[in-house]
Symmetry: C2
Subunit: 236 residues, 2 copies
Amino acid sequence: MTQSPWQPISPEKPARPVREPLSRERIVDTAMRMLVEQGYEAVSMRKVAQALGTGPASLYAHVANKQELDNLLVNRAAREMEFPEPDPDNWQEQLKASMREMLRVMRAYPGVARAAIGQIPLGEQAMLSTERFLAILKAGNLPDQAAAWAVDLIPLYVTAVAFEESVQRTWEWTEDDIEGFVSELRSYFNSLDPQRFPITIALAGALTSGGSGDERFEFGIQVITAGLASLARQQG
Amino acid sequence: MTQSPWQPISPEKPARPVREPLSRERIVDTAMRMLVEQGYEAVSMRKVAQALGTGPASLYAHVANKQELDNLLVNRAAREMEFPEPDPDNWQEQLKASMREMLRVMRAYPGVARAAIGQIPLGEQAMLSTERFLAILKAGNLPDQAAAWAVDLIPLYVTAVAFEESVQRTWEWTEDDIEGFVSELRSYFNSLDPQRFPITIALAGALTSGGSGDERFEFGIQVITAGLASLARQQG
DNA sequence: ACCTGAACACCGTTCAAGT
DNA sequence: ACCTGAACACCGTTCAAGT
């Protein structure tokens, strides 16, 4: 631990690399870029470190662990979301628009949904989006407890949808692959035992359509919005 | 490496172990037991193989990969779910009861939600539970396409809730830990900038209560059921 | 056909040592 | 305080070789 008391006064600064020092910011920037370009699987502590030209251990001075890094990525994405000024006469449409906005951002950062799922989003940006959702729900005259539970339900749904999509993106299917899969699925449904699967067979068409995702999502936010509206206090 | 050419003719069958041979059944049985006793993380190809007294490579003769094993576990759990006979006069209550039943089973096999999330459940037992949900929704007079999208939305929600719970179970919190966390959370909410987080602060109580899970889940299934009911065709 | 050991290409995290 | 190399204790999957 003791140091030699004699120290040469180096004329040209120290020999240490001139690389920019690590920081939380730089780590999250790099991880975010990797997330967009290569997907969630590519964002490991080791690969982020490598991209920064160092070893995995170096990250732990700035980030507690992988979970915290995931949290920071979710928070960074939340920064991108934009919400309308609450309007009591239009709250249902605003709620749907905000859920679409949330899905838009999660699609723009594929993999962020995987980082978000099962996390309690307590970062500042994530909290701000919660605040915005609460504002819309209170404009809709929802009771406090209903609004509080709703801001739990809403991200749960949007994140789950985005997560499903990102899993399927991982499989890297082409348009043809999807078409092939859907037609296989349809014939699988039709091959089921009619005694035990009568409705599945009857609805085979409906069950295998709307795979595009957008229609399904529109259905989901319609159901949630209508369900919440049924809980709103009557005005006046 | 060479062996002596002389081999005694063993009077009692070959020297190979008398262990029961591997099979899909045995692999899923073992994995399921490990899932219940030790959680999802414990169910790796390597550990399942070890529990069966063999190496990981041996499993691949019976199971395509980890993903297929996950699928088989979900399907095994689906076997446990029981559904009511559809009753058009009571479909909303039946729908809620069935969602509770689904959550009950996922809680009984903690970790199964992690295996299920982001999966398309095409096993026979999983398909049967879809058939049951469809039966209830059609008893409620929902249009085909709405029913088809609803059987996507419903497991999505229940699985996401069960998944969240299983993540939190992994942290192995005691009653006291939770209480401490909630009170920390509450004071964190109250410490926020009132200019930017007015509603979050005002609703701090509601936002941190009902963490038990059941109330939150009841709220969710109420919202979904009411939302779906709003889409049901009028009778007659 | 089924099973195996060993290897390949990865993980997250810790720790003693360096500057 | 920050950074590092090396190690620890893991993953899923493949493959040549055995029976």
